[in-house]
């Protein structure tokens, strides 16, 4: 079956991408599979300057999920361009940069720097930083900020497509989706992690030094599917589904509600060859369930009248 997908300025050989922060800069997984087999690789979130990230402990297991508060530890955009990008097989697999900043201007600068990089197929905008100036609410929870940041990135991104990554920690995700569309986003990716917490009754401390952390993994799949469903109905730009995908069936669920592609996050930790295998399994399962084509299947969910 033809597994190619083109949407929002991206052309992928299949709909399987790896999610930011769960696949490093790609090379970490090279011993376990052929990187060029993937539809796309979204690399670890990067900021203008290097960041050391949050104190330890940063991760904890939860029922069918995990919490993380890495705090966007990264070597900074310049080091990424100098060291990581050249060794990635970007001619054969779409490499998407994940941008992290704490104001619209900084986002613009990041976009400006990356716009000139041939090896970058698209920019994904991570709006999860709490906006200190605006009272500490995260950008991603404020539609006005989402729109502003998207505009800032779009303005500097040149011909690079811009994908805005939405947070599920909002009252109405469709408002955020519309804000990003209005700001000029070429596509949306969702969901980022759910805000969560874990504590240890023995030492009476939070299990994560940052106290509040992001919940990911199969536990959140129902929330992610609901968000993707709502957003697909609300906006005209394409959507990439993320959240708890741990099998080909999970991936097809997101495509069934209308996602053009998916990103695999936490499941990369189940085994490092997970995403590579998923590429084959997805095609096989599509055939098994008698879908005529990927396009035919996409968004073909029958809703009750």
């Amino acid at each position: 079956m033809n597994m190619n997908v083109s949407f929002g300025g991206l052309s992928l050989k299949n709909p399987v991408m790896t999610a930011s922060g769960t696949f490093g800069f790609g090379l970490e997984f090279a011993p376990y599979g052929d990187l060029t087999k993937l539809g796309g690789i979204v690399v670890k979130g990067m900021s203008l300057k290097p960041r050391e990230g949050n104190p330890m402990p940063r991760i904890a297991e939860t029922p069918c999920g995990m919490l993380n508060a890495i705090g966007i530890q990264n070597p900074g955009v310049e080091n990424f361009i100098r060291q990581a990008l050249p060794v990635l097989p970007w001619k054969e697999v779409a490499v998407v940069a994940n941008l992290y900043a704490c104001d619209a201007e900084e986002f613009g600068e990041l976009a400006d720097i990356l716009a000139g990089e041939e090896g970058i197929a698209a920019l994904e905008v991570n709006v999860s930083c709490p906006n200190v100036k605006e009272g500490g609410i995260a950008f991603g929870q404020d539609p006005k900020q989402i729109c502003k940041v998207t505009e800032a990135v779009k303005k500097k991104a040149g011909n690079k497509p811009v994908m805005v990554k939405l947070s599920p920690n909002v009252t109405d995700i469709t408002i955020c989706a519309r804000a990003a569309a209005e700001g000029g986003a070429d596509s949306l990716s969702l969901i980022n992690t759910l805000s969560g917490m874990a504590v240890d009754i023995h030492n009476r401390k939070p299990r994560i030094a940052n106290v509040i952390a992001g919940l990911s993994g199969p536990a959140i799949k129902p929330v992610a599917l609901r968000c993707v469903h709502q957003v697909v109905q609300a906006v005209d730009i394409p959507v990439v589904g993320i959240g708890g995908i741990a099998s080909a069936e999970d991936a097809l669920e997101f495509i069934l509600v209308g996602a053009h592609a998916v990103q695999v996050g936490t499941a990369n930790f189940l085994r490092p060859d997970f995403s590579f295998d998923l590429v084959d399994e997805l095609e096989k399962l599509l055939e098994e369930i008698g879908a005529g084509s990927l396009e035919e299947f996409r968004g073909s969910l029958e809703l009750p009248l």
Binding site: M56, C64, N268, F269, R271
Partner: protein, 261 residues
């Protein structure tokens, strides 16, 4: 053959080790050997039983004890849900395994080398002793909480000089620390090398005495891990200059003066 890979292998054997105070705490696990080109003592593997489905998500890291072309041997202490379910595996069960991961202990065959193990921290030294060309230059010190036959100490002390002390009574800990200091002073005097693996307080003690005596020492860390391949940044520690580095790829072994514990 392959330098490093992820495979499904079968469990060959799971056997409890020793006369136990807390029953069923220590186990030797034998797995089919994944087709690796080789491995070095101090390296580890990530193990995830196929039967876990979606609850527990993460694989668990274990030091490679020994491995030949047929069998990979691990030494596992049951401490929680994950290890509890791993030691309950039966021959024929399937596990995903990836490795060999991480760096390894320094090996300087001609240099007098002191191996300091705290409890289950003895595991990586099994392979170290086996692969060392001059075991007569090695001394193994084990601080143990359970009875000695829970640990692979007897087998090791056939090949190398072995010293062990039990941490049983409240006053034992101070005695152990005193002996550790003595030994570190001794190896500092002969310009030796110190390798250690054990719980964090144990490693901190090693780090402190090694710094005081100016002797070269390595510590092996056991931070909680999700990916094992350097991608998630969940396992980091601070290196000598205060930067966060992945224990799974930049460790698990660190020079004691180049890591914050």
């Amino acid at each position: 053959m392959s330098l490093r890979n992820c495979r499904n292998v079968k469990v060959l054997e799971v056997s409890p080790v020793g006369q136990l105070k807390r029953p069923d705490e220590f186990f030797e696990i034998k797995l089919e050997y994944p087709d690796w080109d080789g491995w070095k003592p101090g390296q580890f593997v990530m193990i995830r039983p196929a039967g876990w489905e979606l609850d527990l998500l993460w694989a668990r890291p274990f030091s490679i004890c020994s491995a030949d072309g047929d069998t990979l041997t691990l030494f596992v202490q049951k401490v929680g849900r994950g290890t509890g379910r791993i030691v309950a595996l039966k021959p024929g069960d399937t596990v995903s395994i990836w490795g060999p991961l991480g760096n390894s202990f320094a090996m300087e065959p001609e240099i007098p080398t002191l191996l300091l193990a705290g409890g289950i921290g003895i595991a990586p030294f099994c392979g170290y002793v086996e692969q060392h060309p001059h075991p007569e230059n090695l001394r193994l010190f084990l601080a143990h909480r359970l009875s000695l036959d829970c640990y692979p100490f007897a087998a090791l002390s056939e090949r190398v000089e072995g010293v062990c002390m039990r941490d049983d009574q409240p006053e034992d800990l101070q005695k152990i620390i005193a002996v550790m200091k003595e030994q570190i002073v001794e190896y500092a005097a002969k310009d030796g090398l110190i390798l250690s693996c054990g719980p964090t307080p144990f490693m901190k003690t090693v780090q402190r005495f090694a710094a005081e005596c100016g002797v070269r020492a390595q510590v092996s860390l056991e931070n909680r891990m999700a990916c094992g391949v350097g991608a998630c940044l969940g396992c980091v520690t601070k290196d000598g200059s205060g930067h966060h580095v992945q224990v799974c790829t930049r460790g698990p072994v660190f020079w004691a003066d180049k890591v914050e514990l």
